[in-house]
Structure formats: C-alpha cells, structure tokens
C-alpha cells in the first residue's frame, strides 16, 4: 500500500505539469476504445460528465444511480455558482490567483499540482457549459455576468439565478442522456452499488442492488469510477439530500482503497436553523447572501427583543468587527465557527438560541428592494416558505450545518485510488479542497474531473493494464454477491425494536457533538467508544421490516446507516490523530490567542490516508507529504 500512495505528480513547473502530462500519458487507440467497458457509479456533476465524455470518446459505459433518474443527483441542489478564472470583470483575476485562493482557502492541506490543474481547467468548464446551453446569468450586452463569493476578493463566480447546480447538472445530464439515447451508455437508475469487486489486485466490477426488485447483480468492467458524493449525512442533519451516503466509497475502502482526511468536513454558515426534533434535514441558503446581508447578534446575552427593535449600537456585527477587510465574506469555516461561538456565549437568536441574524435592511436601503429581489428573490421565497417569515421585513436567521466533505478516497494525480482501476471523482475523492472548500468550487471540481481529467487519465490506465477476461460468473463476483446478500439478510433478521432512522439520529447527534464544528481529544475518544457501543446495539436491536426482494426503503436506509457506523470510527480516529487546527478541522487544543485555527505544518503537513484493517480495528495511517513548490504556506488571515 505504501507504494500505492505515490501521488504520481508529473515533473516540471507548476504551469506546465498538466499540459505535459496530457501529452505524455498513454492513449487507447480509437478502434480499441469500444472494447473497454467502464462502470460509472453516481450521476451527479462528476459522474454524469464523466459517463458522457467517456461515451463520446467511444468507451462502453454503464452508469448507476440510486435515484429514479440521473437528473436528481444531489449536485442539483447547489445554488450559488461556479468559479472560473476568466477575468471577465477585469478585476485582476488569473489562473494563479484562483489556484492560490483555493489552496489558501483549503488551509494548505491540498496537493498543489491538483489545485493548479483545477484552476487551469476552470475556464474550459464555462466554455463547455455555455455550449451545452446552460443559461448562465448575463449582462445587458449579452455577455456573461459574474458575482463575488465567500472567501475571495474578485468576481469570478458564474451563476444561473440561485440554481447553478441544477443548470450545470442538467447540462451534464443532457449530455449523458444523448449517449444513453444513442446506446453508448447503459443507464441503471434505482440501482445502488453495495460492493466493489477486486480481481488480481485491480478493480473489475461492482455488485448492485436493484432498488425496485431487490435483486442483486454483478457488473464486470475494465475500470470502475466512483462519483458517489460526500458523507455529510453521517451527522443525520445536514444539507445533503436524504439519500446521500458513504456506502460506495466505504465499501471500496474496505476492499483496499485508502481513505484520506475523513475528518475534513465542512459546516456551511448559512442554513436555516432547525425548528424541532422532527427535523429530517437542513436547508442551505446560498452563501451569496453574504454579499449583501450583514450578520449580527445582539451585544447582550438573552436579548429577547424582536430584531428590528434592537438599535444599531446594541448590535454586534461580529464578522465585520473581527475581520475588517473580508467582513461578512470570510471563508465558510471561519464564519461557521464564529457563529457557533456567539451562540455558545448565549447571544444566539431564535428557538433554542441556535441562530444569528443575516440582515438585508441596509442592502435594501442602498440598492432598493427590486435589486435585492432580482439577486436573491428565490432564496427569500424559499426562506419564507420554510419559516413563515418575510426576510424583506425581518432579518433571516441562519445557523451552520454540515454541508460538504473535503475528505474522501485517496487518489493520485490521475484520480486513481490505491486500488488500480478504481477511479474516484468529485466530492467522493479528497483531492482539491484541502481542509476547507471555498464557495463555488465544488461544481468546478466535479466538472473538471468528469469532462477534462478522467477521460484522459483513465486511458493511461487502460492502455497498459493487463486484465484477464472475466465475467459475472467468476468466483470473485459470486463471493462478493454472497457477502452482500448475507449482510442484507442480517439486517432483515435483526428484528429488533428501533428503526434505522432512530439509530441514525443518535449517531448524528454524537458526531455533531464530538466530531463536528470543533473537536477535542477527550470528546473524540469518548465518541469512538460510544460509536462502537451504538454500532453493536444497532446490529442487535434494529428493525427493518419487509423483505429483501422488494422495493424496501427502510432496508436501503438501514444499509447506509450500518456503513456510517463503521465509517464514523475512522472519522474520529483521523480527527484525533490530527493534533492541529486547519480549515474546518478545529481542535480546541490548538488555537491562536484570537481563537483562530493554529496549523502545524511541521507535524501535519501531509495527507492522512488510512488503510482498513477490519471493523473495530485501528486503521493504519499512510502519509502523503504535501510539498509546496511555488506557494509558501502562511497563516491564513482574513482580517
């Protein structure tokens, strides 16, 4: 495994690495491409764009998603925008600046060469999406409009109202649909990947469950691509769609893929606060709201007045006070942590004191109501629909919520995991965002991976891989299918008293308390113990009901929760071992006197990639040192 952790970053200067690499990697001859079959799991931005692009190149592709249509993958919910270093605004943006912002925003815990490549490709993504008919916002002259987004000082974010993720996903979905219509991609909707099959050391297929009939089946290929998103739902309450889960990457991890930086989870600052115990998920509101909204809490604790009755002198615009140059636009991790801090001081607002105000009073006075309506109208409507309050009149209440996971399966420069032939793209991998992701960068990464990186790098693998012919009747496939079936039967057989949902809530609460926005050693140790105990209870006392050979949503959920239970332990381990604060990983023991994250580059300037050694056994740590050729890590400062 240690050798597998070679990042394979090409030689040469930062600016030329990708171009050179692209020219030097092996190619698959056009006539040979149809002979190679590739499985793409997930149909979000990364998965759909990869499946479409691979099919365009001529490969045989099968694509899987658990939703009823590939168009519903969770990328669809991204609101704010997508970054690209086009410098259309003439405000001094450049590829280097986007690269630097992303690396710095990630608190120097990402691989320099990957981030540079991402910034480089960002411009191609916009071209590609416009050509596909993505209706980006435009100026009156007909050219593309931009806005600025949290954590940066240039305007480089492209957007389609508050539905950028939806429009980009529909673009990729349509490209994918075209290939499905032409018979180049076989689409398996309502199919969930439940395991990976490794044969002679290479990923050769997957076992899936047809969610309608409950039937298990094996699919064989020359390479497997996981584009299965992130694991924020480990917290139960998150902004992720209900179906988002860790299962695909966790199973791949158990089969030998290293899991990198699992404790790097992002808590988004602008979500609608929960209202009660019934809450099934949290709703995010675009961070773009922070461009015009001002965040504040009352100066004094327990101030019960209505927000509009609190005079300016008694309001604490704490982000503007603490960070005069970035103000309300500080990166997400900082904004979230500061919100938690003022709430912990007892100055929070709304039910349970879990909230801070996001106030548009001044913006409406400055620009007029119609301008604010034009910019955020749909977000205001959404807020009103959920809370019953009108944000034009009363400040919004917001609170941080789990939103994105920077951690994921470890991949090399070619996006290949520690298992040869297993590629991981989009949120499911760990690569570009370090310890904190900047706003409008997730869409960029998913599409860069799917349209422009994987289609090249997978060819390099296929051109040299010596793969023996295999089919689904091979003993290895039979064996994995049997294991999957046994697990399904075990869940059904438990016949306990509590639903998987109840267990999931309990696990979520535990992780939020001890491995959430801020962490400490004692809490994490305690969490590991509790997770283990709860996991055991789960397997003894869960009640699923129904049968395996049917449309059984309780069974789907129970399987995902079971994997979260195993994964939770790894997450705590990682958080415990990283004795520093960086980005979203805030260890209370390691902070500056002003309460900022205190990084330790000496001891932790590496990617922590974990090897699975059995459920309940301590994982083995492999380090990929992060070397910076161009940028010199500095203490982040947004003051």
């Amino acid at each position: 495994m240690t050798s597998a952790l070679n990042a394979r970053v090409p030689a040469g200067s930062l600016e030329t690495k990708w171009t050179r690499h692209r020219s030097e990697i092996r190619l698959v001859a056009p006539a040979n491409k149809p002979k190679h079959h590739i499985l793409v799991v997930g149909s979000g931005l990364a998965g759909a764009s990869a499946a479409a692009s691979l099919a365009e190149l001529g490969y045989g592709v099968s694509c899987f998603c658990f939703q009823d249509s590939p168009r519903r993958a969770h990328s669809i919910a991204a609101q704010g925008g997508i970054n690209a270093a086009k410098n259309y605004q003439n405000d001094g943006d450049s590829i280097f600046r986007l690269f630097y912002d992303t690396l710095k925003g990630g608190d120097f815990r990402a691989r320099e060469a990957n981030v540079y490549r991402l910034a480089e490709l960002s411009v191609n993504i916009i071209d590609q999406c416009v050509a596909q008919g993505v209706p980006f916002a435009r100026e009156y002259g007909g050219l593309l409009a931009n806005r600025s987004f949290g954590g940066v000082q240039v305007s480089r974010t492209f957007y389609a109202r508050g539905q950028t993720g939806q429009q980009l996903l529909l673009g990729a979905y349509q490209a994918l649909s075209r290939q499905i219509g032409r018979g180049k991609v076989r689409m398996y909707s309502r199919h969930e990947m439940l395991d990976l099959v490794v044969l002679d050391g290479a990923a050769r297929g997957i076992v899936v469950r047809d969610l309608v009939s409950g039937r298990l089946s094996s699919h064989v290929a020359d390479a497997v691509v996981l584009a299965t998103g992130g694991y924020s739902n480990i917290y139960y309450l998150s902004t992720n769609a209900k179906g988002c889960n860790v299962t695909a990457i966790w199973r791949a991890h158990k089969r030998g893929a290293a899991f990198a930086n699992p404790c790097f989870t992002q808590i988004h600052p602008t979500c609608i606060p929960p209202t009660g115990h019934h809450q099934a998920k949290l709703t995010l509101m675009s961070e773009s709201l922070r461009n015009d909204g001002r965040i504040w809490v009352p100066r004094s604790r327990g101030d019960g007045r209505a927000p509009n009755e609190v005079p300016d002198a008694e309001r604490d615009y704490y982000l503007e006070r603490l960070y005069p140059s970035y103000g309300n636009l500080v990166p997400r991790d900082v904004a979230s942590r500061r919100a938690k801090e003022v709430c912990d001081e007892g100055r929070g607002v709304g039910p349970g004191g879990h909230g801070v105000y996001l106030d548009f009073r001044d913006a409406i006075a400055r620009h007029g109501r119609h301008v604010i309506a034009e910019r955020y109208g749909n977000l205001f409507e959404m807020y009103e629909r959920i809370t019953g309050e009108d944000p034009y009149q009363v400040p919004m209440r917001i609170y941080p919520a789990p939103h994105y996971t920077m951690g994921g399966l470890w991949v090399d420069y070619n996006l290949m995991s520690a298992i040869p032939g297993l590629f991981v793209i989009g949120e499911a991998n760990f690569s570009e965002h370090g310890a904190n992701r900047l706003g409008a960068s997730a869409l960029m990464q998913g599409l860069a991976d799917g349209y422009f990186i994987l289609p090249y790098t997978i060819g390099d693998y296929l051109a040299q891989a010596k793969l023996a012919p295999a089919d689904a009747s091979h003993a290895a496939f039979r064996q994995v299918e049997r294991e999957v079936d046994e697990r399904v039967q075990k869940l059904l057989a438990a016949q306990g008293r509590r639903s998987a949902d109840q267990f999931h809530r309990e696990l979520g609460r535990l992780m939020w308390d001890h491995c959430g926005m801020s962490r400490n050693a004692a809490g994490l140790r305690q969490a590991v113990e509790r997770v283990r105990a709860l996991r055991q209870e789960f397997w003894e006392d869960v009640y699923v009901g129904g049968v395996g050979a049917d449309f059984n949503q309780a069974l789907e959920h129970a399987g995902r929760v079971a994997d979260f239970f195993e994964f939770a332990e790894l997450m705590c381990h990682d958080a415990l071992h990283r004795e520093e604060s960086c980005g979203c990983h805030f260890r209370e023991e390691y902070q500056t006197p002003e309460g900022e994250a205190k990084r330790d580059d000496e001891r932790f300037g590496y990617v922590a990639a974990w090897e699975f050694t059995g459920v309940g056994n301590p994982p083995v740590l492999h380090k990929e040192p992060l070397t910076f050729e161009v940028v010199h890590p500095s203490q982040r400062s947004y003051k």
Binding site: D68, R72, R161, R182, A241
Partner: protein, 259 residues
C-alpha cells in the same frame, strides 16, 4: 396538531391499491409534509407494519423526486411549492388529508406513492440536449446572448422534472415538461442547429410513451412548483409546426465524429 391521513397503498405495479386511513397526533405546524410521512412511517415501523413508500431526496424543492397528490392537488394546496417544502402550518387543526400517487399511464405505480417517471428521461434522450463534445466548445463569451433570451431560457430551464404537470393535467399530458426543455434550448443560439429535429423527436417519444393531449386547460402551470408558463407550450407548438413543414432531416446514420 392532529391529522387524519388517507394514504394510497399499493404493493406493486401489478396489484390493486386502496386508501388506508391513519390517525396521527403530535404533528408540529413547522413540519414539512414529508416529515409528517416520516413520522407516520416511524409509527408504522414501531407497530411492525410496512412503511409508506414515497420518493424524496433533496427536500429543498429542487431535485424533483417527491411528488404526490395531496387533497386533489399535485404537491398540495400551496402555489409554487413542492411536497417537501409544504409546511403543516398551512393545514387546519384536525385536517383530513388524502394522499395519492401521480396517476398516468406513462407513470406506472412502483409502490404506494412511488411512480416510475423514466418516460421523462426517454423524452430527453430523444433530443433534449445540445450536442457539444467535451473539448470542442468555443470561448464562452464568443456568442453574446440577449439578456431577455437568457432570462426566458432560464425560466423554462427551471423545470425540476417532478411530473406534477402530468399529474395535474386532466388529460395526463406532458406538454409543459417537453415545452420547457424545447424552449430552454430553442431560445439560445447554441440550441439552433438541432432545434427542428429536437422538437420532432421529443414530441414523437412523448406520444409513444402514452401521455395525453394538451387541451390548453392550464392546470399544469398552476401545479408547477417552478411556475413554468404555458406560453412555452405555444412556443413548442409553433416550433413543432414549422419543423414538420420545413425540416430537412439529415441522413440517419452514425455520429459523424464517431464513425
């Protein structure tokens, strides 16, 4: 609050369904309608009964997964609101609520409130795209698009593919769904080369899937959670008509680029 729910239960596509009555207490007005179903399901699981199957995912009104007819209206009584964003504060105390799946031949019931909407996917596969190979795109600002056109394209592109339009239509027609995609792509300069064949193919597949005819009732627009206008249906009709008479189909064959 207390509620009485009548939920359509159907074990599978081949079996008959029926309404089952459930009494539900302790419902918070802050709950979404889907959270009420969650609550019901938790109680059913507690009683070792089978929970109600329903599609849902993002719960933010954008993925289009959820959809059910609530008291005779797709996604319930609130305008521009999906079932997941419908909150119980809009129902009176003690309300009696009937919940049914989308009903259309083209959307067969999978189980309970879950229907198979893959017909929509097949319509898109027939032509709801712009062919643009990765890598071949021109510079994004090379073709300016008038803001009005871009805005109207976005109005149409806002469709979430939930199927409420079909569910609400007295004829179970899918015209609003098809019109939204045809208009979104047809309003943009990038969509012009394939415009005629797009509309012809999409309409052909739409009809083959067994959707009904548009009688211009406008119910689709009223049910659409994204308030997509039936003006786009007029646009689709015009596109279709001109395409039938003007379009010169290129010879059917493999993609020129792929041989």
């Amino acid at each position: 609050m207390d509620l009485t729910l009548h939920v359509w239960r159907q074990a599978g596509a081949a079996t008959a369904g029926r309404f089952v009555r459930y009494e539900l207490g302790d419902v918070s007005p802050d709950m979404s309608f889907l959270e009420v179903l969650d609550l019901l399901n938790q109680q059913l699981i507690g009683r070792r009964e089978e929970p109600v199957a329903f599609d849902h995912d993002c719960r933010e009104g954008i993925c289009g997964a959820c959809g059910m007819v609530i008291n005779g209206r797709p996604h319930g009584p609130r305008a521009a609101t999906t079932a997941c964003q419908l909150h119980m504060r809009h129902f009176p105390e003690g309300a009696e609520i009937w919940v049914e799946p989308w009903r259309a031949r083209a959307f067969p019931v999978v189980k309970d409130l879950v229907v198979d909407r893959s017909a929509f996917d097949r319509i898109i596969q027939a032509g709801g795209f712009i062919t643009a190979r990765a890598g071949s795109a021109p510079e994004a600002n090379a073709i300016p698009v008038p803001k009005g056109d871009a805005d109207r394209a976005m109005d149409a592109a806002a469709c979430i593919g939930c199927g409420a339009c079909v569910a609400a239509c007295p004829n179970a027609s899918a015209m609003l769904f098809v019109a939204a995609k045809v208009s979104h792509l047809g309003l943009l300069p990038q969509g012009q080369p394939e415009r005629a064949q797009r509309v012809l193919r999409m309409v052909e597949v739409m009809e083959a899937e067994g959707f009904g005819a548009c009688s211009n009732h406008g119910e689709c627009m009223a049910a659409c959670p994204k308030e997509i206008s039936i003006d786009f249906i007029a646009r689709l009709n015009r596109d279709y008509l001109t395409s039938v008479f003007r379009h010169q189909p290129s010879e059917e064959g493999p993609d020129p680029a792929e041989g």
